[in-house]
């Protein structure tokens, strides 16, 4: 029995996996027919019972989110899919949409039916044109097949689905910023309350779900709650996509029940690249505090990662070996957060501006040990003080790297600069490795 359990990726090796024919060859859209025979509340109850939690990072139970939508309020409801996948290291939704867009569309139809939405949106990051093509084509084909539009499968349920391209803004992955962006504004987060379930898109009750979360819905409807619950751990049910990248022999996607460990995945992937050893890694993207080799056996589920001091996040396992300068890595991440800060609130906007300058000095060996204290104090003044979680993500790599690699920061100072050879970290360098 393999540790892996491909569901969403089960047929990605078929050349036409992204087509409606390819999808239907493997029972595609059968879950939809099943769901439409149940009442919307029954669908919500099933998803709630399954224990499916958000796969976009926060891990909020999907069924609960759906159940917050007020019913019988005579208002338009919206389901908005967050396909803005931009968290550094995160690369699961794009291959999923490239190879299997219909799983998302089927999930959207079922989810929309459950929350009584008649118009839904996919907010796809704009920097992936071919993914856009695939999703748009899948939507068009779903319309042609009668899965979208009026009176879907004779159920009386109508649904319009609109694909919307973002245009390069990490913050739009934050659900309220996404909604503002979709409404045609600058993608800056909104005040909460009101929460999207009460006043979301166009101030109407709205559910915002991650691609993978929604794409998982048809499998639950089709195979049953028990099938899903049988996978994963006590509070982290089901399967999910783990994305392994970086200094490994074989990077790639691994679909497995929640709770697998990095050690297990690395074994399957042929380990850290030959001749090297694991130095640090992220469990769920750059916003999740980094881990080291000491954390190889942490169960990669919501609770396991959290109790080890980080977050499961997007399950983006970025692996860095001993050739990598952690100060350089962190600097680059902080530069990312500075670039992507929306500008709305002071600590994030000004704080990331300042952090980058300090990190640059530290990388160049110009800092002092007092600067490390100042750095940590600034992180303390940023984390939990900003409008949304972006700035919390910005300080996570700093705080966690200082926790595990403080000596390396100091080494930059005593060395008068970075002691690492960047060439050694590259994939195409052989001599220096």
């Amino acid at each position: 029995m393999s540790l892996l359990n491909p569901v969403l990726s089960a047929h990605w090796d078929e050349a036409d996996s992204f087509t409606i024919a390819g999808y239907q060859r493997h029972d595609g859209y059968k879950a939809l027919a099943k769901a439409l025979k149940a009442t919307p509340d029954e669908v919500i109850a099933q998803i709630k019972e399954s224990g499916l939690r958000g796969r976009g990072g926060a891990g909020f139970p999907t069924g609960n989110k759906w159940s917050f939508i007020p019913q019988g309020d005579n208002k338009a409801h919206y389901l908005v899919v967050n396909a803005d996948e931009s968290e550094p290291g995160t690369c699961k939704d794009m291959p999923l949409l490239m190879a299997n867009p219909h799983s998302l569309i089927e999930g959207i139809i079922i989810g929309s039916y459950a929350i009584r939405a008649n118009h839904s949106f996919i907010y796809l990051r704009g920097e992936v044109v071919h993914v856009f093509r695939r999703v748009q084509k899948a939507i068009d084909d779903a319309y042609a097949a009668g899965f979208l539009g009026k009176n879907i499968l004779g159920s009386g349920f109508d649904l319009e689905l609109t694909l919307h391209a973002g245009a390069g803004a990490y913050i739009c992955g934050e659900e309220t910023a996404l909604l503002d962006s979709l409404e045609g504004f600058r993608g800056q987060p909104r005040l909460r309350p009101p929460f999207p379930a009460i006043a979301g898109l166009y101030a109407m009750p709205t559910v915002v779900n991650n691609v993978e979360s929604i794409a998982s819905v048809p499998s639950i409807i089709q195979n049953g709650v028990e099938w899903f619950q049988a996978m994963g751990t006590e509070k982290s049910k089901g399967y999910t996509l783990y994305s392994l990248s970086g200094h490994v022999t074989n990077p790639g996607q691994f679909e497995a029940p929640l709770g697998i460990t990095l050690r297990q995945i690395l074994e399957l992937a042929g380990g850290v690249r030959a001749g090297h050893e694991l130095k640090f890694w992220t469990p769920g993207g750059s916003s999740t505090p980094m881990f080291t080799a000491d954390h190889l056996d942490v169960p990669l589920d919501y609770e396991g990662v959290s109790s080890a001091g980080s977050m499961l996040g997007t399950k983006a396992l970025q692996i860095f070996d001993e050739t990598t300068c952690v100060v350089r890595a962190v600097l680059r991440w902080v530069e990312f957060y500075k670039h992507e800060s929306c500008g709305k609130c002071t600590p994030c906007r000004e704080g990331t501006w300042w952090l980058v300058q300090i990190m640059k000095d530290l990388e160049a060996g110009k800092g002092s040990e007092a600067d490390l204290e100042k750095l940590l104090d600034l992180c303390d003044n940023i984390a939990g003080r900003s409008f949304c979680a972006l700035a919390d993500g910005a300080v996570a790599p700093i705080i966690s790297s200082l926790k595990y690699f403080r000596a390396e920061y100091i080494l930059h100072q005593t060395n008068g600069g970075c002691p690492f050879d960047p060439v050694a970290s590259t994939l195409f360098e052989t001599a220096g490795a």
């Binding site: 803004a169 500075k338 670039h339 800060s341 709305k344 600590p347 303390d380 003044n381």
Partner: protein
Amino acid sequence: MTPEQAVAAVDTVSAIIDGVEVTVPKGTLIIRAAEQLGIAIPRFCDHPLLAPAGACRQCLVDVEINGRAFPKPQASCTMPVENGMIVKTQLTSPVAAKAQEGIMEFLLINHPLDCPVCDKGGECPLQNQAMSAGRSESRFEGEKRTYEKPINISSQVLLDRERCVLCARCTRFSEEIAGDPFITLNERGALQQVGIYENKPFESYYSGNTVQICPVGALTGASYRFRSRPFDLVSINSACEHCASGCDLRTDMRRDKTLRRLGGDDSAVNQEWNCDKGRWAFKYITSRERVKSPMVRGADGELHEASWPEAIAAAAAGLKGKRVGVLAGGRLTHEDAYGYSKFARVALGTNDIDFRSRPHSDEERDFLAAVVGDLTTTYADIDKADQVVLLSFEPEEESPIVFLRIYRQVRKRAMPVVSDAPIASRGSHKLNAKLVASAAQATGLTAQSVILVGERAAEVEGALSAALELAKSSGAKLAWIPRRAGERGALAAGALGNLLPGNRPVVDSAARVDLQSAWGVPSLPTTPGRSTSEILTALSDGSLDAVLVGGVDPMDISAQALEQLLNTFVVSLEISHSSITAIADVVLPVAAVVEKSGSYLDWRGTARRFDKGVEDADLRSDVRILSILADELGAPINLPTVSATAREIESLGAWDGARASFTKREAKAAKSDEFTLVSWRFLLDLGSLQQGEANLAGTAKQARAHISAAAAAKLGVSEEDHLIISSERGSIELPVSIREIADDLIWVPRNSPGSQVIPSLGFTSGAVKVAKR
């Protein structure tokens, strides 16, 4: 929460802030509740009249509810007080204090240390709060963000981006309050900055408010920039002389000179806002065109400076025993207007007085005398109106604070607005106004509706009758909103041919007797007086011998008005040299606003008093000069000072007897000419009180002739072309603007550069010929 909301709220909640219990209306934000306890939580983005933003994060406090503490400090400007809440501000929570100190440090890292040359220095919320809530020394050793400085975002407003703390008060004001989102936050992250679209300056009538609410020196007004330090200024409460909205103003003076004006705080009227005209149009006070000394026309036909006794004597000699008309003008204070009114009746023995120096009608005169004095509509009625009907009234152009009130309700609850304007102005667009052909087509009015009639209703026969009819049949609240600040006061003062002070009808003998006894005079003239146009006609045909003129621009009345004054004895009370002083026989200089005290009655009929700002002003208020002149004429009016006048007005009170009568007029049939000209004035135009302020004038709307697409096709013109609009008197030439308007109408601004309708065409509305240039 605004005070009105606070009054409306019935439910209260209680919480403990820094150990002290406070009970506030439900929905009150923590930051406001703390204010009630005298606890000032530092803030930048927070503004009580703007929607909460939570952007600057300066107001972080520790909060727990029913024993459950929030894991991190919360923005007190976005969180409403709840029962069982315990709030610890910087005063009692080290976490909150450190959080605030941290935010302040972040705000300062990119802020320039240019306080010594910054206009805001000395009155700067950032400076002040950095002292109270900041660190004594910065730990920032890096590079500050710099920008090219400053940039003109309009001819009047400058932006120093590196000073900006990105609180978004200015952009939120422009969008939420003014409906003019011409400045926005652009770019992202640390490069986020306030800006305009490159081809569209920040030309909002309300742009000055952004300068006022900017918590740093990022936005400055060109006319005040580098002029003064706040601690050198003396602030006086004043009233705005520009329109009938009734704004509370703060005037800041240094050595008797007005340096700037700011919106004052009156929640019942302008809240904290004002318009750019009210803020910036005050250079006329210090203009070189001011008349400084009395002048008398000599035997040589020229005006010569004269002493006050000489000038008073010359005026008295010219008026004594003559048939005199009085043109009071619409810019007078209530007290000055009262002076003219009493002077006409007591010193000149006539009812030939009219304050209307603009197109007017007998229908209007009767409406004013019979109806307006008793109207009680207020801003609060607009706040709760189920719909607002605008008749011959463009609030954004003609009473901009009334506009803000209406807009607020349109934005807040999509309050319906109906307008009888022939073309949708930008203001109408913002109000989402439904355009109707006439008052009769406004439907669904209730007692909760508000009808606002402008002074231009006088230009359409039957319009005021229809407005009154609509109000009566629906029970809706009615208000008459003139453009000028002095008209409602002049009406109350009886500066009208058929009306004596306090709503006393001229034809009512009991009212006259009442006034005679109050004034201690044996009799008052009994015949209703002439209107402005009748006075002018009488002057030109010799039925009248002389005229006393207040602040009047004859071109506001008619093209002929000045000519009609040429062969008569003219006494002019004026602040500046004008076309009237040029032909006057005696010119008596009078004080402008800051040089005198007084009050204006706004459109509601409510007085706003103001004090003199210039202590040793040489010039006196009109009423005082009129009182001296009356003495010289041997018919004293006993109004030696403004305060004495105010006391007399007060003790005289309003007439409790019958009102003047009003006879309904029928609307005239529409004309069938090729084109009919329609017009109104832009707020910012060639008005004489805006003179000398080029920065403000630079933000005025450009004059264009608006015609329909069909008319444009017929004329063979596009928006690249110019039109010649002509009447028998003359013509104007304007670029074309194609808009939604009836095919037989052409709209132009009434008194803008290139489009002075009365002098050029001889009327404000009527048949014109239109051709491509």
